[in-house]
């Protein structure tokens, strides 16, 4: 990182105001003015850097400016690089990068919606987070009170692009769907059976989460983090706690690091197994789903034994975990995994024995590797399409550096390979949990609580089962938060579904969607 920072200083002597290691391994480069585009290009072309996320913060009342944060990482380097650009309150605009780097398309539009900063040159500057029928408000500005009562909404929620041509028509679906799933609106333009294009309307479950974090006591904020995406409660909670720990220099005891790792991997195993079942179910293989559901119950019983909650809630805390484990609890892990491993092997054999299942999954919903990397797709969906990223390996945290594991990567990018990534990862995770149990150190499970210093900023990043979860916090006074930015892996992956469904028949949409299994609530917050 040092040579990279020196290079930036050489290439952009005028533009860099300060460089600071704001948290261990997190380097912030403060820029003069709002334009980070040249430096971003330089980093991405010269250093193969990846633009992980872009977000804003309102500091107008304190410093007279908004800040934009561009978070980068690059292959082979576990540190994070953050460009911090300032936007004057009098001229609330910034140059858009979305035309060159479509991965930030939605994120820049979010900045427009939440903060009222215009992304100049954005190829599609329409609203994304606020529906069209919302009044002209910018909820993440500090002068917008959390409890603002908005007037009744009027007008269209969203205007979809029309479909033209003979035999072309629209099929609107949602926001309430047929199954037990989260709400969102899909507008399909079809010609007969094949899908010409899909338009998405998300943010139906927007519940003001990032605004709620502001001024929230940090101890309570952990529970809000657990409610960002209910199937990833532990991963989101841990990402949040890690951000707090990085910001305030809290050392997590070794035992707690292993405990967290075990629970993170259990969350992955549970969700991957139920997804395997659900994917099979969507192509009519009902028995496989029933078996997956049964195995899932076995695992949830273990989760309850380890945390008191089937969904792993109320366990993670800044500085470690809330409850220590007795010997019997630790023994339950090995006992359960033995059963789960056997049952999972049977489930996989069952899935592979069915030719018809294979046929339906193969070459269905292809997300090409170039598209995936262009859109910044992460997690399971990325690894099935050649995107070789995994925070557990690339930015090791908790106990991961002590555990051997393989990161499965495929190129084909179809439903079948998204399923294969999950299957491979379950096997890896079972081994990792076993290894972590044998290495589980003694000692405290939580660092003593200490006051959190104000005005510190840090990233906490966790590879959730779905993909990369990034939290960024700015601490405030009195153990409260100034701001917490949340990036769920789903945000970058939704536009990838649009690509993956094109040309597929509409009857295959459910299984394609399920193979991504993105979080609506994580996206909408």
């Amino acid at each position: 990182m040092t040579s990279l920072l020196n290079n930036l200083r050489e290439c952009f002597p005028e533009q860099i105001r300060a460089v600071e290691e704001t948290a261990p391994g997190q380097f912030t480069v403060l820029l003069d003015g709002p334009d980070a585009t040249e430096m971003a290009r330089h980093l991405m072309s010269g250093y193969q850097a990846r633009l992980v996320t872009v977000f804003a913060e309102d500091r107008v009342q304190v410093e007279g400016v908004f800040y934009l944060y561009y978070v980068f990482d690059r292959p082979g380097d576990p540190s994070w690089l953050i460009l911090k650009a300032s936007v004057a309150a009098e001229n609330p605009t910034f140059p858009s990068l979305a035309a060159e780097f479509p991965a930030v398309n939605w994120q820049e539009r979010e900045i427009q919606d939440w903060f009222g900063l215009e992304a100049v040159g954005h190829p599609n500057p329409r609203r994304v987070a606020l529906h069209d029928n919302w009044p002209d408000v910018h909820p993440l500005r500090k002068d917008f009170p959390l409890d603002t009562v908005l007037p009744p909404f009027e007008g269209e929620r969203h205007v979809y692009r029309p479909a033209h041509g003979e035999g072309v028509f629209h099929i609107p679906v949602g926001p309430v769907h047929a199954g037990i799933i989260e709400p969102g609106h899909f507008d399909f333009a079809v010609a007969g059976e094949p899908i010409l294009y899909l338009q998405l309307r998300m943010f139906y479950t927007h519940k003001g989460t990032e605004k709620l974090f502001e001024n929230l006591p940090i101890q309570r904020a952990v529970f809000l983090a657990e409610s960002i995406s209910g199937d990833s409660a532990f991963s989101h909670g841990t990402a949040f706690c890690r951000a707090i720990e990085q910001a305030s220099g809290i050392e997590v005891p070794a035992r707690a690091q292993f405990q967290r790792t075990i629970l993170l991997e259990l969350e992955r195993i549970v969700n991957h197994i139920s997804d395997a079942g659900a994917i099979a179910n969507d192509v009519g293989f009902v028995i496989a789903n029933a078996h997956a559901g049964r195995v899932r119950e076995i695992l949830l019983g273990l989760c309850e034994t380890l945390t008191g909650s089937r969904m792993l809630r109320g366990m993670v805390a800044p500085g470690g975990v809330r409850r220590d484990w007795q010997r019997t609890q630790v023994e339950a892990i090995e006992k359960t995994l033995k059963v789960v491993q056997r049952e999972f092997r049977d489930l996989v054999a069952m899935l592979q024995s069915s030719n018809s299942t294979r046929e339906r999954l193969q070459r269905t919903g292809i997300l090409r590797a170039e598209k995936a990397s262009m859109l910044g797709v992460v997690g399971v969906a990325g690894r099935a399409s050649g995107v070789d990223l995994d925070l557990r390996r690339d930015h090791p945290y908790e106990a991961y550096r002590h555990l051997p594991f393989r990161v499965p990567v495929y190129q084909a990018g179809d439903v079948r390979h998204r399923l294969l990534v999950r299957i491979d990862e379950v096997s890896e995770s079972i081994q990792m949990v076993r290894a972590a149990v044998t290495q589980l150190p003694d000692g405290p499970h939580r660092a003593p609580t200490q006051p959190i210093p104000p005005d510190r900023c840090a990233i906490g990043a966790v590879e959730g089962w779905r993909g990369e979860i990034v939290h960024w916090v700015h601490t405030g006074y009195g153990n409260c938060l100034e701001r917490c930015k949340v990036k769920d892996p789903s945000l970058n992956n939704w536009p990838a579904i649009v690509e993956a469904v094109e040309g597929n028949i509409i009857a295959d949409f459910p299984v394609i969607n399920k193979s991504f299994n993105l979080s609506y609530s994580g996206t909408d917050r």
Binding site: V137, P139, F144, L146, D147, T148, V149, L150, F153, P175, V176, G179, I180, E182, P183, F203, Y204, T205, H206, K207, G208, T209, K211, L212, Q219, R220, F223, L224, S227, I228, S229, G230, D231, A233, I287, A290, H291, G293, R294, E297, L300, G301, E304, T305, L306, T307, G308, S309, R310, M311, R313, G314, R323, Q329, D346, A349, M350, S353, Y520, S521
Partner: protein, 284 residues
């Protein structure tokens, strides 16, 4: 195919027998809070740590009123840990569904000492005892059951945690179909709406429309802390709070999320209401 059959046969019956038989709960499971009001020397530490405001205190004229709202509680256990006197305890009770929102709120009043500790316990309300234990409800329903019950699930803004447990009702362990209950795709075919929250501004209209499309007589069940009260999200510019802020609710199921047996308990309770209403309001 043969292998699959063999597998299915070798597993045998896995279905749990709740409510006839109590479910297996991990020793660590956190269910309803229990208070020893007489022994509670200070409610402030509990109220301070409670992430949702489920425990609230109000001091006025030398009297402290403590309110506990099971409709906001996310069963995190922080209050138990914070209360040094051992007066707050998590139990394993999970059958918490009620038909009256007020039954989820309990209060206690203390004379207040100068240092903020509790003096004499002046009064208290005993709180939500499961209106009907699952066992009794089921017996009653067996008598009433003439046809199956159709549920339409509506996610009006949840984090998807409640949906995880609702989906589990369909797995072979909880197998809700053994009661003749099934989930349907359209509100037009539904007897019951099972709604999770908080209700977001963006889902308000869809929820109202779904409710309007469900034929009478219908029963609405609000699921989870967020569905009951808005939970940790409360009400804000984007959240309207609990389901009953938008449509009338008949049964409330506490939890974060409620475990499948807790959901079943609430659904069976609601089923009783459906039966009653069917009698007075037959469908043509």
């Amino acid at each position: 195919m043969f292998k699959i059959l063999q597998k299915s046969i070798s597993i045998g019956t896995v279905t749990a027998e709740y409510p006839r038989v109590a479910p297996h709960l991990a020793e660590q499971f956190r269910g309803r809070l229990e208070f020893d009001f007489a022994a509670w020397s200070d409610a402030r530490p509990a109220a301070d740590v409670c992430p949702t405001g489920a425990i609230a205190i109000h001091d006025c004229d030398g009297v402290r009123q403590v309110t506990v709202d099971y409709g906001r509680c996310i069963f995190c256990g922080e209050c138990e840990q914070a209360s040094a006197d051992g007066a707050v305890r998590m139990t394993k009770q999970f059958e918490l569904a009620v038909t009256d929102r007020r039954d989820l709120v309990i209060t206690a009043e203390y004379a207040l000492q100068a240092d903020g500790h509790h003096g004499e316990l002046l009064s208290f309300s005993s709180g939500p005892i499961a209106e009907e234990p699952g066992k009794r409800i089921e017996a009653a329903i067996h008598k009433l059951l003439g046809r199956s019950l159709a549920i339409r699930q509506v996610d009006a803004g949840s984090c998807n945690g409640c949906e995880q447990e609702i989906v589990a009702l369909n797995n072979p362990v909880h197998d809700i179909e053994r009661f003749g209950i099934r989930f349907v795709a359209s509100p037009r075919h539904a007897d019951m709406l099972l709604v999770t929250g908080p209700v977001t501004r963006n889902m308000e209209l869809a929820l109202r429309k779904t409710w309007a499309a469900t034929p009478d007589p219908k029963v609405v069940v609000a699921v989870g802390a967020c569905g009951i009260s808005g939970g940790i999200f409360g009400t804000n510019y984007a959240s309207l709070g609990g389901v009953d802020a938008v449509i009338p609710v008949d049964v409330y199921i506490p939890g974060c999320p409620p475990r499948p047996e807790a959901l079943l308990h609430g659904i069976l309770l609601a089923l009783g209401l459906v039966r009653q209403r069917m009698g007075t309001h037959p469908r043509g």
